[in-house]
Symmetry: C2
DNA sequence: GCAATCCATATCCATAAGATATCAATATCG
DNA sequence: CGATATTGATATCTTATGGATATGGATTGC
């Protein structure tokens, strides 16, 4: 019969009370079985832990050493239980989130801050990389969820809308179309565009496809890697750009953001995750995102 | 029903095998009770530790954390058992030994070195102090054993002979009695003595008493604190001294050691300890000392 | 020296760990 | 695609063992 935690619990109390009777009282059991359990423990350990002088109980040197360990073990069992429970309840844990720079600035940063505030024990790690790599990371289980615009339909993954976001036209304040009352996509057919490199961005590609659907192939004069640097180029008059509405937060005097009429363009952000049971931290985070989006943009 | 080590042992194996059936085989129990025990553990922890997809078993985030702790706990139980057993067997532990400088030089140092060689895991601490203080240290449990010459009969303490040692006369090589064939104690009645201060040494007092029994009160010309410094004074011709035979190891050209005829003087060294059950380290040490003395001085 | 404690021993009982049989669900294979 | 095998869960029974009660031997305190 191997050592059990019961033995350690009993032993610790006897060592504290230095009395089998008193310890048995504290443990709410009777004295004989307690003596028996301690005896079993001593047999199992292979050394006397107490020195019983039929009137006085005293720890042996071996018992002295064992007590230190026993207490540490019992404490660790307790903390193991607490920690697992906290993780199970989604109160603590690790969260690996894939995203792109533009989404991060778009509002994800605020969402993460709010989540961190509510669940301070959850360690969230952000991985900024191209959407295609994020998809692979999800499949390889090296990330938990991804925030992606225009997520591809991939087997084993599911996407749910995180928040809606419009596409707006960014142009210089002195651009010839700046004062036009109503603007539609087709009006941009002769413009020069500032855009993200399409290889790294599904969003850039979708803009391009929309233009083609509208009957023209956009002339991209300048390609940039970082969405934010679009603002600089546009305001310097290098061309116009179709960007997520949240980019307008990084505005300046020379730039103007205009909504296109009758546009089907969208920069909606989706949460992508594996199509399976997730850990509670992940579930809690997704639920939190849902509520957060609803609160910020009701309806 | 609280968490037991059985739960952790079962859990660790299931986590390793990621299969209840395989784990049950390894644990030499059938599968249903194993499932039951894991279920009980999960209930107790308050979180799912495995994610069962009815075909695949996988650790949850909580289970992942719990596994780390479980393994650490099981390992610590094992090391606690080993350590207590080693202490119980006297292979390791602490040993507090009281002694005096002269006994240490007399042969105790060699004994300790031999013991350390045989039981390298036993940490022995030496406390050099006056015999009276050693007795008190023993009673107060702040020391385990003491090496003492002429131990007083004290209630609760027992003394056993560690090794026999003669008393020899130390005198200058040019002393007038240096060439006398046979010397008895009474021959020293007109000599000047170099001796230890009697307050700090029972041995010094016993020498004095023996002289009185032999019919004279020894004239102590020089009192010293350290037994070894007697050698210096005697060789410089400041007087004679009755010292433990082992002192003769610290001889020089000018000094001569002579055995007294028909002498009842003895410098036997005793091990003193409490009259109760001792830890195995102590018992082993005492036994070791006994054998060591027998080997060095058979008969 | 008697009563009061304290731990150990002996015996009994109730609980729970484990075994057996079976089911539902899913992956494997002809 | 259906038959089969494999996996974990459920139900029921058996048995091992933790715990209770009664008692004894040893020591201490009055």
């Amino acid at each position: 019969m191997p050592i059990e935690l019961r033995h350690l619990r009993y032993f610790a109390v006897v060592a504290e009370e230095l009395s089998f009777t008193a310890a048995a009282n504290r443990l709410r059991i009777s004295q004989p079985p307690l003596s028996q359990q301690i005896r079993d423990l001593e047999d199992e350990v292979g050394a006397a832990l107490f020195q019983r002088t039929s009137r006085r109980v005293r720890l042996t040197a071996a018992g002295d050493s064992f007590l230190v360990h026993a207490r540490a073990i019992l404490a660790q069992v307790d903390s193991a239980r607490r920690e697992a429970q906290a993780i199970g309840a989604g109160k603590t844990g690790r969260l690996l989130i894939g995203t792109t720079g533009s989404i991060l600035r778009s509002g994800l940063a605020d969402l993460l801050a709010a989540h961190r505030h509510e669940y301070p024990e959850v360690t969230s790690t952000l991985i900024e990389q191209a959407p295609a790599l994020q998809i692979r990371a999800l499949q390889e289980r090296s990330s938990d969820i991804s925030f992606i615009r225009l997520p591809p339909a991939v087997d084993g993954l599911v996407a749910t809308l995180a928040w809606k976001e419009d596409v707006v036209l960014a142009m210089s304040r002195i651009h010839r179309l700046a004062n036009r009352k109503r603007l539609v996509l087709r009006d941009l057919r002769d413009e020069e565009f500032v855009a993200l490199v399409p290889e790294s961005s599904d969003f850039a590609r979708s803009i391009q496809e929309s233009c083609v659907s509208a009957g023209f192939l956009p002339r991209v004069a300048h390609e940039v890697v970082d969405a934010q640097s679009i603002v600089g180029l546009v305001s310097a008059g290098f061309g116009v750009a179709l960007v997520p509405a949240s980019i307008s937060r990084f505005t300046n005097r020379e730039i103007l953001f205009r909504r296109l009429a009758a546009s089907t363009l969208s920069a909606d952000v989706y949460i992508v995750r594996r199509d399976e049971e997730h850990s509670q931290v992940v579930r809690t985070f997704i639920e939190f995102s849902r509520k957060y989006a609803a609160r910020r943009a009701p309806g």
